[in-house]
């Protein structure tokens, strides 16, 4: 009797286990069957979302295009371009003007004061030779003139006086020569002076 009861109990347990395994297998099968459908559904959702958004964006792009291509916008663009061109031309003009002024100002400038000072530095008996064939001349930053004097030492002293005025970048003389006045038979000295126009430099002759 006990043995019969045990046999029956084993049979029930085995049946129950079998039905549980069957149910688990069925669940897995249904999940596996549903999975591609879920995936398909998700992909379709993404497709719909992308398509709708693309359409929305193209509507917005169309609106922007019509704004950008409108007469008002084109006019604005043209006006802006013209103004920019004009501004660039003005800027170029300003740069050229500054550059031109710079090129002019970097050169030495001959002033009337220089001509006045070369005369004021002369002592009695000394004068600039003032003739048509020996003019006061200025070329390439060098002011040149001829001086006549009664004293031989005056040449050096005159140049020293000019240097002390600190007006020129350099002062020098050359062609010192003793001459005689044919009418009065008096002798005199002549020499040429060259002054370099430019800022005075301590200790430098410049020439």
């Amino acid at each position: 009797m006990v043995r019969l009861k045990m046999k029956r109990l084993n049979f029930i347990v085995a049946e129950k286990r079998k039905s549980n395994q069957e149910a688990a297998r069925r669940r897995i099968k249904s999940v596996l069957l549903l999975l591609p459908l879920v995936l398909f559904f998700c992909l379709m959702q993404k497709y719909i979302y992308d398509t709708e958004k693309t359409a929305e964006l193209y509507v917005k792009i169309g609106e922007l295009d019509s704004y950008l291509e409108s007469d008002e916008a084109v006019k604005k663009k043209e006006e802006q371009e013209k103004l920019q061109e004009k501004a660039a031309l003005f800027a170029r003009y300003r740069r050229e003007k500054e550059e031109a002024a710079g090129r002019i100002s970097e050169n030495p400038v001959l002033e009337s004061d220089f001509l006045e000072q070369i005369e004021s530095a002369m002592e009695e008996g000394t004068a600039i030779v003032w003739e048509e064939n020996s003019p006061i001349g200025y070329t390439d930053g060098i002011l040149a003139f001829t001086v006549r004097t009664n004293q031989a030492s005056e040449a050096m002293e005159y140049v020293e006086r000019l240097k002390r005025k600190k007006l020129f970048a350099g002062v020098d003389y050359h062609g010192f020569e003793r001459k005689e006045d044919l009418k009065t038979s008096e002798s005199y000295y002549e020499f040429s002076v060259e002054c370099e126009i430019g800022p005075y430099e301590e200790g430098g002759d410049g020439l």
């Binding site: 958004k53 031109a100 050169n107 003032w130």
Partner: protein, 196 residues
């Protein structure tokens, strides 16, 4: 022919579904996503264009005012700067200096040229040349005329010769002046004239 088992049917069903899903994904979703990205990029470009236009429009008034101020300044610059009046402008300036100094001009001779210069990647153009002028007058006048050109931003005295005339007190002066001027002045003049 034998009947397919349930297991085989299930496997075939899953394989078909997977093929449909992936093919559908490949045929529909990928082009749709690409199209969306393309549209997004295009939209961003248009937005940037609009922003630039709006920004420029905002700056237009500022730029306009700046250009007007520069134009007014240009209109008030001496004629000497304007290439169109180059020869007459220079001659006028030099002769008025002579007159102011009490010298009587005898003759003038102008040579004109142009030169280009590359600076900071920009081609700058200059009108260059020289004017030779001879005049007569007092010695004081001959000295004074130098001060007239002293502060000029356009002209520089390249050579100067002063010698006495036969009559006493009077002197003859020969001056060679060199000039350098902005070459874009003519272009500016034409632009301003065209606009007005």
């Amino acid at each position: 022919m034998r009947k397919l088992t349930q297991r085989e049917c299930t496997l075939i069903y899953m394989a078909v579904l997977l093929i449909v899903v992936y093919t559908g994904g490949f045929l529909l979703c990928i082009p749709a996503a690409g199209g969306y990205l393309e549209a997004k990029h295009e939209f961003r470009e248009r937005c940037a264009e609009k922003e630039i236009l709006d920004m420029k429009t905002g700056q237009t008034e500022v730029l306009k005012a700046k250009c007007e101020a520069q134009e007014e300044e240009f209109k008030n610059t001496p004629e000497i700067y304007k290439s169109e009046f180059l020869k007459t402008g220079i001659e006028k300036t030099v002769l008025s200096c002579m007159e102011q100094s009490g010298l009587m001009p005898v003759s003038t001779f102008i040579t004109a040229g142009s030169e280009n210069m590359e600076k900071n990647g920009e081609n700058l153009e200059f009108k260059t040349g020289s004017i030779e002028v001879s005049a007569e007058g007092s010695k004081d006048g001959a000295l004074k005329v130098l001060d007239c050109f002293r502060d000029s931003m356009v002209l520089k005295v390249a050579s100067y010769t002063m010698y006495p005339k036969e009559e006493e007190e009077a002197v003859s002066v020969f001056i060679r002046l060199e000039y350098v001027m902005p070459g874009s002045a003519k272009e500016l003049m034409e632009l301003i004239e065209k606009e007005s």
